[in-house]
Structures are given as structure tokens and as C-alpha cells.
């Protein structure tokens, strides 16, 4: 609750008014600090290259042009292939959707089994699995690359689905374990007495109750997997790259004229899905962040 809720009588006077103004000034300045880079990206993406060279960073475009956007979407060169971001966006969606759904579902059933059917060793198993959420992934890059190669999944979107599912499981299990721990055991006991077994209790009772946690987990996983770069660059090549890798390739292309407006349009396109999720479901995103306070 803190200050926000309490209406403690404070002394009123010019000093208080000045402090209040200062407070809003500082908060406003920080709003600018966070927003200006986005504004610069948008405004640059709408300028022509000439205007970029002559105008300044923060000047608004004289003539709004969507050329950079259409180029970023359909014809910018990613490495040697000039296809724009479009196919890579599809790669990312094809990777994200199954990986999010599978890892959330497995995390839910895992969290449920570990908390509501506490068998000997359940806590140790949880602790061991949780550890996987904290390792720097560099430590598994080499063996995973070899494993994917062995199963013929190297360089494919399916390989990335698999990798993200495996390493996302620790987070999703954590989310659901924390939720199910707070659910009364009495509900499960009552259902057992009513004759329901492991799966009926899970699907009919627990999963509907866990809906907010499902949303948190889906949003969290979506953001993490969409934004991933390390697995994408390490395990895919060329046309199976996710959009983050493609974006980096567009920006890092050193041949020809540097097209900053195309770079910015491409960056906004690549960031748009997660930004939309954040704007639409911000509170769930924040809940994921603070649940992740024990994860990082």
C-alpha cells in the first residue's frame, strides 16, 4: 500500500508545491529518456536517406515515406538473400507458438505433480530442475549443437522449438509450482475422495484454476523465445533464422550504402509482436517479471 494509499496530512506551502513540480519534472524527463529512442526509431524509419543525412536525429520527417518499411518487410538483404524480414517473421512464429504451448503445458503438469502429489524426492527433483533456469546457456551450446546435428534437426526451426521447450521448462515449472503451492491441498483431497484421479483433477480442476498463471507463463515464454538470439544464431543457418538473427544480419551487412531507415523499420517490425503483447497484457508481463525475480 505504502504512500500511494494513505492520505496523511502534510504541511502545505510553497516548498511542497515546488517539490511536487520537481517530482513531475523528474518523472517527465525519465518518460522522455525511455520514449525518445523509440521516437527516433519511428521517425528515422519514415525518412528518406537524404533527409537522414541532412536532418538531425530528433527532427521529424518532412515527407513521410513508407519505402523503408516495405523494403524492410519484403526486399532488404539478409546476408546474401534479399527477401526482407517477412520469411523470418514466419520462422519466429513457427518457432514461438509450439515452443510456448508445449513448454507451458508441460510446466503446468510438472508443477501440479510436484506439489499436489508430493512423492518422496519431489522437492529435490524440483530444485535440480530449477537449476537449469540459471545456467549461462553457453555451457550447453556445444553439446546441443552436436545433438541437434545427430538427430538431423540442426539448422531447422524444429530444432529451435525443441531447444526452447527444453530450457523453458524450468521457468514454466517454477511459475506453476509457485501457483499450485498456494492452492489448498483440501481441494485435491476432496476430489480424490470423490473418485477423481491424477488427470481428471488436473484437467477439470487445476488447469481452469491456473488460468492467470497460464497467461503469465504464455506471455513470459513468448517474450523470451521471440527475443532469443543466442540459440537462434548458434543453431540455425540462413533461411531458418529467427527474426532477431535476421535483423542483426540486416543491420550488420557492410556492403553497399548503409540504410538507417530500413534498419529502424526492421527493428520496429522485429520488436512489434512483444511490444504488442506488453501493451495488451502488461500486468501479466509484470507478474512474470516478478515471479522471475527468483530466476533472472
Amino acid at each position: 500500500m505504502s504512500q500511494a494509499q494513505s492520505g496523511i496530512v502534510r504541511r502545505q506551502g510553497p516548498r511542497q508545491i515546488a517539490l511536487r513540480i520537481l517530482l513531475f519534472a523528474v518523472l517527465g524527463l525519465f518518460c522522455l529518456y525511455y520514449l525518445i529512442p523509440l521516437a527516433v526509431m519511428i521517425s528515422t524509419s519514415l525518412k528518406s536517406l537524404d533527409e537522414i543525412r541532412t536532418g538531425s536525429l530528433i527532427s521529424l520527417p518532412h515527407e513521410i515515406s513508407l519505402d523503408a518499411w516495405s523494403k524492410a518487410w519484403s526486399s532488404a538483404c539478409v546476408g546474401v538473400r534479399c527477401t526482407g524480414l517477412e520469411p523470418y517473421m514466419w520462422n519466429s512464429f513457427l518457432m514461438v507458438v509450439p515452443a510456448v504451448l508445449i513448454s507451458t503445458f508441460l510446466g503446468a503438469i510438472n508443477g501440479y505433480a510436484l506439489t499436489k502429489w508430493r512423492f518422496p524426492g519431489a522437492n529435490v527433483i524440483f530444485a535440480l530442475m530449477l537449476f537449469g533456469a540459471f545456467i549461462p546457456f553457453q555451457i550447453v551450446l556445444l553439446p546441443m549443437a552436436r545433438t541437434l546435428g545427430y538427430f538431423g534437426l540442426a539448422g531447422s526451426v524444429y530444432g529451435l522449438v525443441f531447444v526452447h521447450t527444453v530450457y523453458g521448462l524450468a521457468f514454466t515449472t517454477l511459475f506453476f509450482r509457485n501457483f499450485f503451492v498456494s492452492v489448498s491441498d483440501g481441494i485435491v483431497q476432496a476430489a480424490k475422495i470423490d473418485g477423481a484421479g491424477f488427470f481428471p483433477i488436473f484437467f477439470k480442476l487445476m488447469l481452469p484454476m491456473a488460468l492467470p498463471t497460464i497467461v503469465v507463463s504464455v506471455i513470459w515464454q513468448f517474450t523470451q523465445i521471440w527475443n532469443d538470439f543466442l540459440f537462434g544464431i548458434a543453431f540455425t543457418v540462413g533461411d531458418s533464422n529467427p527474426v532477431t538473427v535476421a535483423l542483426n544480419n540486416i543491420v550488420a551487412t557492410s556492403t553497399g550504402v548503409k540504410e538507417y531507415n530500413v534498419d529502424m523499420a526492421a527493428a520496429i517490425i522485429a520488436g512489434l509482436p512483444t511490444l504488442l503483447v506488453y501493451v495488451l497484457a502488461g500486468s501479466y508481463f509484470v507478474r512474470g517479471l516478478s515471479a522471475g525475480a527468483v530466476k533472472g
Binding site: F30, I139, L142, L230
Partner: protein, 300 residues
Amino acid sequence: MTNAGTPRVALERFLDRWLPQIVVSPLFAASLVFVYAFIAWTIYISFTKSGVMPNYTLVGLAQYERVWSTPRWYVALQNLFVFTGLFIAGCMIIGVLLAILLDQRIRLEGAIRTIYLYPMALSFIVTGTAWKWILNPTLGIEKLVQGWGFRDFSFDWLVDPQMAIYTVVIAGVWQSSGYVMALFLAGLRSVDDEIIRAAAIDGAGPVRTYATIILPMIRPVFLSSIIILAHLAIKSFDLVVALTGGGPGYATDMPATFMYAFAFQRSELGTAAASAVMMLMTVMAIMVPYLYSEIRGSAK
């Protein structure tokens, strides 16, 4: 009835008893293989003379000696310390300040909070791309300030090997300070309202109330924020790649980019494995005591 029933009942009993374990075990097995076995494999490789291909001949600490005799590794380590220190300090100062300011009954709090936190939803690659443009030595901030009349202003940190690492700090703090703000705001809101009222009656003004009562009460939030930021810093890879590509030269290399370069560009698996193992050790040195105390704390 009984004949048909008995095996079925027996099966049901068996499933009742073992189903939870049956469900958990493949997931647990996956964790054992893809986390623990993989770590073990990487550690093993770090003691072998593996180059382009894995080679299982043990060579003792040779790969580690190799890493520690590479000047590039020292640059990476130095950058890691500079980046981690400044990144944590910057995020903490801005985050705590903003959380306290937002805690003052601000009418637009929801909207402001959304603005402060949105960079956290972006990929580091997007952030890096944006800042790469803003910090562009000819067309970015430098040109903007020169346009204001400061003809001699120069801002070329992005291509200055001495200063490039600080551009990574700038972009990193921009992206992650909102996260610290959100964690602290939640912490501040968890403090019992009656305690703040008691402090008001005791005559403590806002500054004293925050400094001596509220902030000490949310000490655990300081700890977890710092741990999370340190963890982010050690793993930071995407931001460096997008913003500086590790350059100029390898001036902004970090252990994560060092490892990637040796593993996938130079194909020196043993050396890459050795650097990955050292990264793991660093993370563990921070995370294991923290996790241990968290788990012990929540078990109470």
C-alpha cells in the same frame, strides 16, 4: 465380474500410486540429460585437446592455460567487470529513484510505469540496433549537438576502443532499469501501511521514512535485484553483438561473445568449452548461495 475386474483394479491401483512419477520422470530425465549431462560433457571437453571436432584425449588444464594466455580473454574479463559494475549501479540508482518517485500518489502512475518498463519487452537486438543508430558517430547525437551550435562537440564512443564498452552500459541501463523500478515498486507497496502511519506520527518526514524505515525493510529486494542484474550482465551477448559486434576489434568482447567466437567462428571447441565452464562457475558462485537461501527461506 471379478475375473475381469481384478487386473483392471490392479492396474488402476498401480497408476494411482505411480502416475505422478511417471509423468514427471521424462521431464526430469530431459533436465538430467540436457542440463547436467551437457554440462558434464562441456566440462570434459574443456580438459581435452578438442579443436574443430571433439577429441576425447585428456590434456589436463591446457585449454584453461590457453584461455588465460589470450589477451582477448583479459579484455573480455575487464569489460565484464566494468560492464557489470556500471550496469548494476546505473539500473539500481535509476530504478530505486523512479520507484520512490512513483510511490508518491501519482495520478498517471499506470501510464508512467508502462513507459518505464516497455524496453524490457524488447529484444536486446532491437535495443542494440536503436542505440547503434542514436550513438552513430557521424549522424547521431554528435550531429544533433553540433547542430545546436556546439561545433566542436564530438561523441564517437561507439568506434573508440577505450569508450565503446560504455555505450553497451548506456543501452543496457536503458533497457533494464525499468525492471528494477518494477521490482522496487512492488516491494514498496508490500510495506504495511500502518508502519508508514506510525512513522508519520513519530514525526519522520518522507526522506527519513524511506531512508531509515521502508528501504531497510525491503532489503531482500536489493539483494534479488542485484543478483538478477549480475546474472543478466554475465550472460549478456545479444546486446554486445547488436551494438558493437564486439568491436572495434575485440574491444567490447565479453566472456559470452568470446565463447561464441571460439566455438562457432574459430572452431576451437576445447578453448570455447573452458571459457564456458568459467562462465558457469561465475554464475554459480553468485546464484547458488542466493537460491539456497531463497529455497530455505520459502520452506519456513
